[in-house]
């Protein structure tokens, strides 16, 4: 065949594939289905798959389908994306595309010149591109088919105390990213880039500059006040609002030099997608001195509150309370205690401010406070099941002794102003808990064994199953209605990522990253013998 004809034929063969396989904004709106197209599965962070093949009745027949050990990985925190049978996971400064059916690697992109080496939590997909952030704060756009670099844009400097770890969020024609580094002093922000060319469209700082509204809530150190944005956000297309959480004020454990509420740290921000302007904010922990970042997933639900259907955002906060806010206005609606070990506040008042118990700030000698520094909830993904109407949250029951240091804070020197750790004879314990969004109250709980070291999240399915990583390195399936154990599988590593659900060729899979590998599971079916094709290599 003539080369030109050959090329034309190849193009003709590939055209339908290229046309159908692009990810459109409306595809992400409809996710998840067979695909898992964004970090939280959908824009609401429900992490609820409509797939129904796996049920409480057959979950006992789940078996591993494939495992791929990712060379060089030692702490995968990545939530995989799946699109059109291809899975995309991230590691430090790296994206790996795998065949979601066989687990074989299709391509691998690594930025070996990054100035930092931090964990990475995942990628975004839009059009023909995969987007991820490098540790040294660059947003990278890669071709989803080959891993070829389309563009790379730096949006922050390591020299300013920043690094990046969160999965970008693709919304309409924009890619939204955040920054980390709040434990060492930095100034947090969220920014939007155009998906096609990587042009920065807007930037919203989470800590005001001197003289700006909100700066009156700071004493010193406002320039290094923290407010990291190290977890991906959620989005309401009707309101055209992004919901993004912010991290702790700095120095974490010593608040003596930053008297005031320290806006907008430990908060949830509602941001206009088009302009980047803050529409409202809600601060969960004013003047935080316990490193209780608000980084837990803001789950967007339409549910009945006090007998009225309401558009709400629910937020299981590190400080121990499960918050419900009106997501159009930011109005505080309710907060309920998630954990039994909670002693820093007697409750939350009508305006949403904590009612403080005195003398719970860290001291040089140590102050015993519940919850511990890891929080009652954290970035371990919650899930909301449309099948049961329940919200599932991984809770940690733990108290810590918090110490403080009045040493003159030096930014970028890994100085947090103190620290926190549990008493030796009081280790933490995880519980997978189901909450009724209508009341905020606990419906059932499933106690976990382990050392209190997991960071794994959950996913629910229309089939009536909740999957999560436990504190013993196991993927567990529970009956979503009752919390009854159905199935588990030991992966043998501490888990720091959340599972996802997807389908290829009409078959349902569950996948999760362990510390060093990707594991994928499905229902048992006998393998058919493979008839090896005649293969020869021409010289």
């Amino acid at each position: 065949m003539k080369p030109v004809l050959k090329q034309l034929l190849l193009c003709a063969l590939m055209l339908p594939l290229a046309l159908t396989a692009q990810v459109r904004p409306q595809d992400i709106l409809q996710s998840p289905n067979s695909n898992w197209l964004t970090y939280a599965g959908d824009y609401q962070a429900k992490r609820h798959s409509p797939l129904t093949q796996i049920t409480p009745q057959n979950a006992g027949s789940i078996v591993p389908k494939w495992t791929n050990h990712i060379s060089g990985a030692n702490r995968l925190e990545s939530v995989p994306l799946v699109h059109d049978g291809v899975m995309y996971i991230t590691n430090t400064n790296e994206v790996i595309a795998l065949d979601a059916r066989s687990g074989r690697i299709i391509w691998r992109y690594k930025d070996a010149r990054s100035k930092k080496q931090n964990v990475n939590r995942g990628a975004a997909i839009l059009g023909d591109r995969i987007f991820f952030v490098t540790s040294d704060v660059h947003l990278v756009a890669l071709d989803r088919r080959t891993g070829a670099v389309a563009w790379m844009k730096q949006y922050g400097r390591v020299e300013d105390g920043l690094f990046a770890s969160a999965a970008p969020l693709a919304v309409k024609d924009k890619i939204i990213v955040g920054v980390a580094g709040g434990d060492s002093g930095m100034r947090g922000y969220i920014c939007a880039f155009s998906a096609d060319k990587g042009e920065e469209l807007w930037r919203l700082y989470t800590v005001p500059a001197k003289g700006e509204p909100g700066s009156e809530t700071w004493g010193g150190y406002i320039e290094w006040g923290g407010g990291g944005t190290w977890l991906s956000g959620t989005y309401d297309p009707e309101l055209n609002l992004l919901y993004w959480t912010t991290g702790n004020p700095w120095p974490d454990f010593y608040g003596g030099d930053r008297k005031g509420d320290n806006l907008y740290t430990c908060s949830l921000l509602a941001i206009d997608l088009d302009t980047g302007k803050m529409k409202w904010y809600f601060q969960f922990t004013p003047h935080d001195t316990h490193d209780w970042d608000a980084q837990s997933w803001p789950v967007l639900l339409d549910t009945e509150i006090n007998g009225r259907m309401s558009k709400v955002v629910m937020h299981p906060n590190r400080n121990g309370f499960l918050y419900t806010l009106d997501r159009a206005t930011g109005e505080f609606l309710r907060a309920t205690k998630m954990v039994d070990k909670l002693d820093w506040a007697t409750g939350i008042d009508a305006k949403g401010r904590p009612i403080l118990v005195p003398d719970k700030d860290p001291t040089p000698a140590g102050t015993y406070v519940c919850p511990g520094v890891r929080g009652a909830a954290n970035w371990m993904a919650p899930t909301y099941s449309a099948a049961t109407g329940l919200l599932y949250v991984m809770n940690l029951e733990q108290c810590d002794v918090y110490t403080s240091s009045a040493q003159v804070p030096e930014p970028k020197k890994n100085f947090a102003g103190g620290g926190a750790s549990p008493k030796h004879n009081e280790p933490g314990q995880f519980f997978m808990r189901a909450y009724d969004p209508k009341t905020g109250k606990r419906v059932w709980e499933y106690p976990l064994t382990g050392k209190g070291e997991s960071w794994s999240g959950s996913v629910s399915t229309a089939g009536g199953v909740v999957f999560f990583g436990d504190d013993d390195g196991q993927l567990v399936a529970l009956d979503a209605k009752t919390g009854q154990h159905l199935w588990h599988y030991l992966m043998g590593e501490n888990l720091t990522a959340a599972p996802i659900v997807y389908a290829v060729d009409g078959k349902q899979y569950v996948a999760i990253c362990s510390a060093t590998a990707v594991f994928t599971f499905g229902l048992f079916e006998p393998q058919k013998p493979v008839a090896l094709p005649a293969t020869r290599t021409e010289p």
Partner: protein, 268 residues
């Protein structure tokens, strides 16, 4: 041929030598020196114990026995902190001669150094008799594959734990919580019970070792009830049962339990 072999040997040796030089600084002679440590302890009691506690367990100042509080400091870093203090904090500069500051650093280092490096005083032979006889330690612990099954093997304890950790484990075995070797009583669905220590436990399986050394691999579906004990199986009354001399001798014996001989460099 010899030339080649020699070159190969040199090529292999060079990077190692280079690595060695870049990673290890010469230690101040006070570090690991028992006399300097003892002198440092006296200085610590007068200058540091007010904030850090007489045993370094912390008070107004941080706990120095917890590696987490200062593990990132090398000897020089610790020297600087003790010498110059921490500006802006309650940690003052210590106006003392350089050799005395090094003695304090040597003492603080010794709080977490392996027991075998601390040259613990006492009658090793008497300690051995206490371990294998009078106090019944060997009913539960092994040394050299002899002894009981309910506690950890102590054949290498001198190399793995600091003298302070060993002392605390003897005097207050439950103080740090019971993460391993947790005493457990199990009732089976089909009848019968089992007592032992829990080696590992998840919601689905459990491994228990009994006093006779039998390892029981248990599926949770077979279990009716589990009673876990928060306190260690180790008796908590050695504080009163052991005289001061007996404790010293037992520590002298245990601190010398190492499966490898002491490092030649550290002996110098």
């Amino acid at each position: 041929m010899w030339k080649c072999a020699l070159l190969l040997a040199c090529a292999l040796a060079l990077p190692a030598q280079h690595e060695d030089k870049s990673e290890k600084k010469p230690k101040n002679p006070a570090i690991g020196n028992p006399e300097a440590i003892a002198a440092g302890q006296k200085l610590f009691m007068t200058s540091c114990a007010g904030c850090h506690g007489p045993t370094g367990d912390g008070g107004r100042g941080p706990n120095l026995r917890e590696r987490g509080a200062w593990h990132s400091l090398d000897d020089d870093g610790m020297f600087t902190i003790v010498n110059k203090g921490v500006p802006g904090s309650d940690m003052p500069a210590l106006n003392r001669p350089e050799n005395e500051i090094w003695q304090i650093v040597a003492f603080v280092r010794s709080l977490t150094a392996p027991a075998m490096d601390s040259n613990a005083p006492g009658d090793v032979e008497a300690g051995k008799q206490i371990f294998w006889g009078k106090m019944g330690c060997s009913n539960c612990h092994m040394i050299g594959a002899k002894g009981g099954f309910l506690g950890p093997d102590l054949s290498n304890i001198g190399a793995m734990r600091s003298l302070n950790e060993i002392r605390n484990s003897i005097l207050d075995p439950s103080e740090r919580g019971v993460k391993e070797y947790q005493p457990v009583h199990i009732t089976f669905r089909k009848g019968g019970t089992l007592d032992g220590v829990c080696v590992d436990r998840t919601n689905y399986a459990m491994q228990v070792i009994d006093r006779a050394g039998k390892v029981h691999r248990i599926a949770m579906n077979d279990v009716e009830a589990i009673v876990l004990h928060k306190k260690s199986a180790m008796p908590g009354d050695y504080k009163t049962r052991l005289s001061r001399d007996e404790l010293r001798d037992l520590l002298a014996y245990l601190s010398r339990q190492s499966t490898r001989p002491p490092d030649a460099k550290s002996e110098k």
